[in-house]
C-alpha cells in the first residue's frame, strides 16, 4: 500500500456514498473496511501462498501474480487460469466434493458472484481502496466482491489482411458475405466474457443475429483471449468477439491488429474479485485482495494489461480511447444469472458446438 489511510478519511469517503448505500434496501451492512497491517502481512507470510482462480488471459494473470510476489516476498501466488465458465464449474465441482482449494476468485462473468453469494460461499471483505474510492455499482453492498477489472468485447481485424476502409464498423457488417470463412469467435460455454457479450448482444440484436452469424462459417475457439491471438497469427481476418485488452497489448507490441468499437455498442464486461469463506489461506487471500484494488495494482493492469480500472486514482494510458467516450452495451449480471443456461443451450444449438 503506497499510503496509509486513516479511519477518518475512510469515514469521509463512505459518507459521500451514504446516499446511494442507504437508498438501496440492504440486509446487512458491509464489513469495516480493512487495510494492510503488519499483522496481516505476517499472517499471510506464515501461510506462504495464495491460490487465485481467474479467467484473465494467462500471461497477464501471471504478471499480476508476480507483481504481488514482488511486493510481498514469501507468498507464492499460484494462478489457476481457465475460462470463467470453467472456473465456475470447477469451483462448484470442487465444493460439492468438499475440496477447498480456492482463496480468491476473479471471474469475467459477474453473474457468478450472485450464485456464489447465494450459496453463502463468499467471505465479506472490503479493502480500504474499495470502500473509499469505488463507485457503488462496482462493489457488492455486503462487501462480497468488487470490480477488479472492466473491459469490452470488441470487433478487431488483422491489418495485413484487411484494409482500414474495408474493416467492419458494426456487428451488422459482419454478416456481409465477404466475411464468410474469415471470422473467429470465442465460446460462451467456456468464456465469461463471451457469455456476457452473447447475453448483451442477444438482448440488443436478437438471437437471429447469431443465426445469421453462424452461417458465416466462423472458426469457433474457446477463450475470449484466443480470437485476438488467432488474428495475430493471421489465421483469421476478423474477430466477432474477444478481449479489448489483448488487442491493446498486441497493438502496442507492434502486431498487425486493430480494434473496432461496434456502432451498436460494445458489450461491457465486468470482472469482480472475491474471497471464499473456506479459503485455505485466508490471510494471504485478504492481503492479495487488498493488493488487487490498490492504485498500484490497478495502474499495473491498465498499463501492462490494457484493462480498464474503476479506481479513480488511476490514469488511462495515452493512445487508447478513453472509456467514457466509447458507446457500450449495458451490463446486467442478474439477467445473465437468470438466463445463462438458456443462452448456452441456444448458442450450442445455433453454432453446433
Amino acid at each position: 500500500m503506497p499510503k496509509r489511510i486513516s479511519r477518518r478519511a475512510v469515514l469521509q469517503g463512505t459518507a459521500a456514498l451514504a446516499t446511494t448505500v442507504f437508498a438501496a434496501p440492504i440486509k446487512a451492512a458491509p464489513p469495516e473496511p480493512a487495510g494492510v497491517t503488519p499483522q496481516l502481512i505476517e499472517a499471510a507470510r506464515r501461510e506462504g501462498k495464495v491460490v487465485w482462480y481467474t479467467s484473465v488471459d494467462l500471461p497477464l494473470a501471471e504478471k499480476i501474480a508476480k507483481s504481488f510476489e514482488a511486493k510481498y516476498p514469501g507468498i507464492a501466488t499460484r494462478v489457476e487460469r481457465t475460462g470463467a465458465e470453467r472456473v465456475f464449474q470447477r469451483i462448484g465441482q470442487e465444493y460439492a466434493s468438499r475440496i477447498y482449494a480456492v482463496d480468491v476468485v476473479n471471474s469475467s462473468d459477474a453473474a457468478h458472484f450472485i450464485a456464489w453469494k447465494r450459496e453463502g460461499w463468499l467471505a465479506p471483505y472490503v479493502p480500504e481502496d474499495v470502500a473509499q474510492f469505488y463507485p457503488p455499482e462496482h462493489k457488492d453492498p455486503d462487501g462480497m466482491s468488487a470490480s477488479f477489472r472492466v473491459w469490452l468485447s470488441v470487433i478487431a481485424y488483422n491489418t495485413n489482411l484487411v484494409k482500414a476502409e474495408d474493416a467492419p464498423k458494426s456487428f451488422a457488417d459482419l454478416l456481409d458475405p465477404k466475411w464468410a470463412g474469415k471470422i473467429v469467435k470465442g465460446h460462451p460455454g467456456y468464456s465469461g466474457t463471451i457469455m456476457t457479450a452473447t447475453y448483451q448482444m442477444a438482448r440488443e440484436l436478437g438471437w437471429d443475429y447469431f443465426e445469421k452469424l453462424a452461417k458465416q462459417r466462423v472458426m469457433q475457439v474457446q477463450s475470449s483471449a484466443d480470437p485476438p491471438k488467432k488474428l495475430a497469427l493471421g489465421e483469421r481476418a476478423v474477430m466477432a468477439d474477444g478481449n479489448e485488452y489483448n488487442i491493446f497489448q498486441m497493438k502496442e507490441q507492434g502486431q498487425p491488429v486493430e480494434l473496432v468499437y461496434p456502432t451498436e455498442g460494445a458489450p461491457l464486461i465486468v470482472g469482480p474479485n472475491g474471497l471464499f469463506k473456506n479459503a485455505p489461506n485466508p490471510n494471504a487471500a485478504r492481503l492479495f485482495q487488498n493488493y488487487c484494488f490498490s492504485v498500484e495494482a490497478q495502474q499495473f493492469i491498465i498499463d501492462v494489461g490494457g484493462l480498464r480500472s474503476m479506481h479513480p486514482g488511476t490514469k488511462e494510458k495515452p493512445g487508447r480511447k478513453p472509456f467514457r467516450e466509447i458507446k457500450t452495451m449495458k451490463d446486467d449480471p442478474a439477467g445473465v444469472e437468470r438466463t445463462a443456461e438458456d443462452v448456452k443451450a441456444r448458442y450450442a444449438r445455433i453454432f453446433r458446438v
Binding site: 488471459d57 489457476e80 462448484g92 482449494a101 469457433q220 488467432k230 489465421e235 502486431q255
Partner: protein, 571 residues
Amino acid sequence: MALFFTRAESRPVRFDLSWPILLASALILCGLIVAPLAWLVYFSLVDRAGSFTLDNFRQLVTTPAFVEPLITTVILSVSASVACCLVAAPLAFLVARTDMPLRGTVRALMTASFVTPPFLGAIAWELLAAPNSGLINQAYRAVTGAESDQYLFNIYTLTGLIFVTCCYTCPYVFVLVANALERIPGDLEDASAILGGRKWVTARRIIIPLALPAVLAGALVAFLQSMTLFGAPAILALPAGFHTMTTKIWSLFQYPPKPELAAAASLPLLILTVLLLRGQHLILGRRGYAVVGGRQGAARVTRLGGWKWVALVFALVVLLNPVFLPYGALLNAAFSRVPSQLVSFSNLTGHNFEFVFFELSATKLAFRNTLILCTLAATIGTLMALIVSYLTSRQAIAFHRTLGFLATAPVAVPGIVLGVGLFLTYTRPPFVLYGTLWILLIAFVTIAMPSAYQQLQSAFRSVSSDLEEASRILGASRLRTLGRVTAPLLRTSVIATWCFIFVGVIRELSAAIMLFTSETKVISVLIFDLNESGDLGAIAVLGLIMLAITFAVVVLVNRIPGFGAIRLRST
C-alpha cells in the same frame, strides 16, 4: 499350453498364499473396473432425483446433437483404421522383411511417434496446416502465388482430424504387424519357392494370409484408439463446429453438468468396444496361432534391389507426418515470437522458455504430479500385471480365467468413459478420492492394465517353468519364486512394460480431463488448457520438455545396472 494344463490339474491343492492373493487381486481389479462401470450404468438409468428412467437414452437417440457426433465418430474411426492399415502394414513389411536401408532408424522413429501424445500432435498440426496461418499453407501460397484465402490443406475438418488421428494411431498397427511378420518362419517361404512360387505368389499365398490376423488386430486397435481419442477432436473438431462422441461427453460436464446424460452417452462407446473385441475373438480365435507356433527358421529377407531406395523414400515420407513436420513446427514455435512465422534473427525469442519456467505458476506442480503419477502407475501397474499374469499363465489358482478376464476388461472401456465412471464413483462416500492424485492413479493403472497384462502374459508363456519348479521343490514359496526366479528371467519384458505404462500415462488426457482438480493437474491437462487460450508458444516448450523427459526416462530405466542386461529368454 497343454503341458501346463495337465500339470496344474494333477498338482495337489495345498494351502499357500494363493487364496489371499486371488482374493486381493480380484478385489482390486473389481474395484478398478466393476465399481465405476456399475455407477455408470446406474447413473444412465436414473434422473436427477434418483428414480428409474429411460429418459436419458431417449434423449440420446432422439436428439440430433447426440446422433451426429456418434455418426462422426464412426466415420472417423473407420477411415482412420483403414488408412492406418494401408500405410502401416506396408511400412511394417519393409522394416521387418526387406533390406531397406535405415530399417532400425525407421523403427525407432515410429516409436517416437508412439511416444508423442496425439493432442500434442494435433496442436503441432494446427501450426502446420491451419488454413491461413499454417506453415505448409503459407509455403504453398508463397510458391504458387495463390490468394490469401487459398490453402492446400485445412486441418480444421473431419479429413484433417482423420489424418492426425491416423498419424498417431499408426504405430500400434505398425508394431503389431512388424512383430507378426518377423515371426513368420522362412521355411514356409522356402517351401513356396521350391515349389516354384515366384515372389508375388509367395507373398499372396504365404505372407499376406499369415500377416492378416495381425493386420486385423491392428485395424481393431486403430479403430478403438480413434474412437476413444479425446484431445485431437477437441482441438481440431470444435473450431470446425462439430463434435465427436468423446468431446460431446466431455461437454456434458460443463456447467450445468449433466452426469446422467454423460453416463448414458458413454454406454454406446462401451458396447461398441465390447462387440468389436468379441468380433476380433471370433475372427482370430481359430487361426491366430498358426504363426506363433513355429520359430524354426529365421525370417527371410526380401531383396529389393534398386527399389530399396524407393522404399526408403516412402518410409521417410510417411514419417514426415507424425514426426519430422510436427516436431519441426513445435521447435519453431518454441523459439519464434509469432508461432506462425519461421524463426529468423528478427523474431528469435527465449521468451516462451522464460514464461514456462519462471512465470507460469502451474508448471512445477504439473510436472511434479505427472512424474509422480507416471512412476507410481508404471510400478504398481507392472507389479499387478506381473502377479496376475503369473497366476493365470501358471494356472496357479482356481478362477485364473476370471482373473485374466478382469485384467483385460478395461480395454473395452474408453478413457473418457472410465473418467466419467471414476468421477461418479469417487466423488461420493465411502471413498472420496476426487481431488487427490489417487483417483488419477487408479485411472491410469486401470487403463494400462490390459496391455501390461498381455505383454507379461506372453512373456511368461515363453519362459519354461522348470526353474520355478526347482525353486518350489527347494522350498521357496510362490511369491519368493516369483520374485527371485521368474521376474529376473523376465526383466526385459518387465522393463518394457514399465516403460510402456510410463509413456502411456504421459500421453493420457481423456480420463485426466474428467478427474483433475487445480491441485492435481497434470501436463497433458495443462497443455490442453493452454491450447484453449491460444498460448501456442508455451505449449511448444512444454511439449518438447515432456518429450525429452519421456526419452530420458526410457533410456535411463533401460540402463539401470544389472537390470535388463541378461537376455535368457531370447534363446
